[in-house]
């Protein structure tokens, strides 16, 4: 009994402590990327940092070593304990974090899913900041490749994992575009390969594509690891003029291939702007200046007007950015 009272006192003390911190301090935001050492998320972190510099919020980032489904959970719990106001996270699993998110939100922490959503589990987070209008990724990639191969010939897709939710949405849209739009009638999707976002597997899968489909004209790889591996294989096999590679990649990862002509163009969005937008949104919601509900419009300096859509989804930009020889020198991320 005495022990229980002691525990109660300890817990109470901690609550008081975090409560006091909340009243006095600026909004505190923590961003938890999928894993550490991933350059893509470094850009998002940079966006958060710059956003918080102008807004005056406290920003920290912590990351697990691996992108395994459960690796982020202890970090979220620790942030709740630290009394952080906003946890922004790029979730490693669409559902394994549900319980800990519920608990965080029960304690007043705002949960923002950044860079990808949690399909089917939207009720467990407060809002999702997505990089781009995902319905445009598929058609846009098909057009980028079509332009390079004269809208004709066999093409293949090299994706991440068979169940990667974002990639599967985009691939479905690619298929639909290829089928419905007469412009692409002569482009034939021969297969979809999965490189599991692993450099080695992506490499052997691409090599198998080249071996299995000697008439292949192009590869679309809507994942940063995949597109780099595909480009490397095509370069090694000296088939850059025969097989065009397009996809989603980061400029630093792809610069070499653009400069030596292996890849003509690829696409992405701005992870930096995602971080920036998320920081503004988080502070606004916490301050009460931004209402987290469909239809709210708010302004982010440098990004213009942004709308909160259905299910509290916010898209950072409408169209994808295309990188090629002309503009790649302007980007460093």
């Amino acid at each position: 009994m005495l022990r229980r009272n002691l525990m109660l006192a300890a817990a109470l003390g901690a609550t008081l402590l975090s409560g006091a911190a909340y009243a006095a301090d600026p909004v505190s935001i923590v961003y938890i990327p999928k894993n550490t050492g991933n350059p893509y998320f470094d850009s998002i972190i940079k966006g958060f940092e710059d956003g918080c510099k102008t807004l005056g919020c406290d920003f920290t980032t912590v990351a697990p070593a691996s992108a395994e489904a459960t690796s982020q959970i202890p970090f979220v719990t620790a942030q709740i304990q630290r009394g952080v106001n906003v946890v922004a996270i790029s979730p490693n699993s669409p559902d394994a974090l549900n319980q800990v998110f519920d608990r965080a939100r029960g304690k007043g922490t705002i949960i923002l899913s950044v860079n990808s959503d949690m399909p089917g589990n939207e009720t467990h987070r407060d809002a999702a900041i997505l990089p781009v209008d995902f319905t445009k990724t598929g058609p846009s990639q098909v057009e980028l490749l079509g332009k390079q191969i004269g809208y004709e010939g066999e093409i293949a897709i090299l994706s991440a994992t068979t169940d990667a939710p974002d990639q599967n949405v985009w691939i479905a849209a690619m298929k639909e575009t290829l089928e419905k739009d007469p412009k692409y009638a002569k482009m034939k999707l021969v297969t979809i390969a999965y490189g599991d976002d692993d450099p080695q597997k992506s490499t052997t899968e691409t090599e198998a594509l080249l071996a299995n489909y000697p008439n292949l004209k192009g590869i679309i790889s809507p994942t940063t690891v995949g597109v780099a591996a595909a480009a490397q294989v095509v370069e090694t096999a000296k088939k850059a003029d025969k097989v065009k590679v397009v996809g989603l990649g980061t400029p630093n990862q792809m610069r070499r291939f653009i400069e030596n002509g292996t890849v003509e163009a690829f696409q992405l969005w701005s992870p930096y702007n995602q971080g920036l937008l998320a920081a503004h949104f988080a502070v606004g919601v916490k301050d009460g200046t931004i209402k987290n509900e469909a239809g709210t419009v708010f302004e982010v300096p440098g990004l213009g007007k942004v709308t909160v859509e259905k299910d509290s989804v916010i898209k950072t930009q409408a169209d994808l950015t295309t990188f090629d020889k002309k503009n790649i020198a302007d980007f460093n991320f």
Partner: protein, 328 residues
């Protein structure tokens, strides 16, 4: 002696038969597999495994195991990559030296801890697996080495050479040849076998077990470091969280398939090379056959266990002997 050499030969012949059978079966199912193009892909896939497998083979022969080679590979690749990135004007061989030497240093630490404190290598290297990965994150500041920072000449080593066989393939088979020379034609090489066959008797025969064991771990580390450079050449970038993760299992699988006994004292370069080629062929065949990549690990695990059972069966004079003894 002749009986032993016959056994050796039988062992390697067995692996060769497995390799030929595998290629034949896959080619029957998918005729495209039997082509020079596939051969090229297999040859490109094996150098990474082959170089590290030579080190791991020596470790196993000395009756130890090194689980940290994946982290050593990552560490060396990052260390060399940072030299390339921060000092692009320095010649390529400095990066190579840094990669190989840092690998050797980490391997030396493994060997030192194992021998000095007389600890089981599997637990020590399980610890350094985590330790070295942590150190490489710290060293790199969790930053990836981008393709831009990998020197062109290094990347071309994975693509071509004056005789049109990529340099990394030549290096890998060169390393295998050197290992063969070392193990069969040097005194230390033979001592490694002696230590593995009977660690307690080795000192009585005048073998200094500790330095030789440390040397074996150092060589394994150095070769994992060299594999790190091959990784950088082949994949064109180095990521602190991805490069080398899980690599140890692939290498151990290759070595065990190659007939190297986990009980020490037994193993040959030829067998290991064949084991690596078999594993490389499996790796390449799966996507060509259209088998989901999800099967890869299960197949590796299955192959290791089968190789273990075969190894045990051979040593106990066939299945009957095994069961007879098992019933005792």
């Amino acid at each position: 002696m002749s009986a032993i050499s016959r056994l050796f030969r039988a062992r390697e012949a067995g692996i060769l038969v497995m390799l030929v059978l595998f290629v034949a079966v896959v080619s029957l199912i998918q005729p495209r597999f039997f082509s020079t193009e596939t051969l090229r892909i297999v040859l490109l896939a094996v150098p990474l495994i082959l170089v590290a497998a030579m080190g791991q083979m020596m470790v196993l022969v000395a009756r130890h195991v090194d689980l940290s080679i994946g982290s050593i590979l990552g560490f060396s690749a990052i260390a060399a990559g940072m030299i390339f990135r921060d000092h692009p004007e320095w010649p390529l061989y400095i990066g190579f030296a840094v990669g190989v030497l840092s690998g050797a240093a980490l391997g030396f630490v493994n060997g030192l801890v194992v021998t000095l404190f007389k600890l089981p290598s599997i637990i020590v290297t399980l610890g350094t697996l985590s330790l070295y990965r942590g150190l490489l994150f710290i060293l790199s500041g969790s930053k990836q080495i981008d393709p831009n920072d990998i020197p062109e000449p290094l990347i071309r080593m994975a693509q071509t050479s004056p005789i049109d066989i990529p340099w990394i393939v030549i290096i890998a088979f060169g390393v295998a040849f050197a290992t063969w020379l070392f193990l069969t034609h040097s005194q230390i090489g033979r001592q490694i076998y002696a230590i593995g066959s009977n660690p307690t008797a080795a000192p009585l025969r005048g073998i200094r077990v500790m330095p030789v064991t440390i040397l074996v771990f150092t060589l394994s580390g150095a070769l994992a470091g060299l594999a790190g450079l091959i990784y950088a050449a082949r994949f064109g970038y180095v990521n602190p969280g991805i490069t080398g993760v899980g690599f140890e299992f692939t290498v151990i699988a290759a070595v065990v398939i190659g007939g190297v006994s986990i009980n020490g004292g037994v193993g040959s370069v030829l067998g290991t090379v064949l084991g690596v080629l078999l594993l490389g062929s499996v790796q390449v065949a799966l996507p060509i056959l259209g088998v989901s990549g999800f099967w890869q690990n299960a197949i590796y695990g299955g192959i290791i266990l089968i190789a273990l059972v075969i190894d045990r069966t051979v040593r106990q004079g066939g299945l009957r002997g095994l069961l007879a003894r098992g019933g005792a």
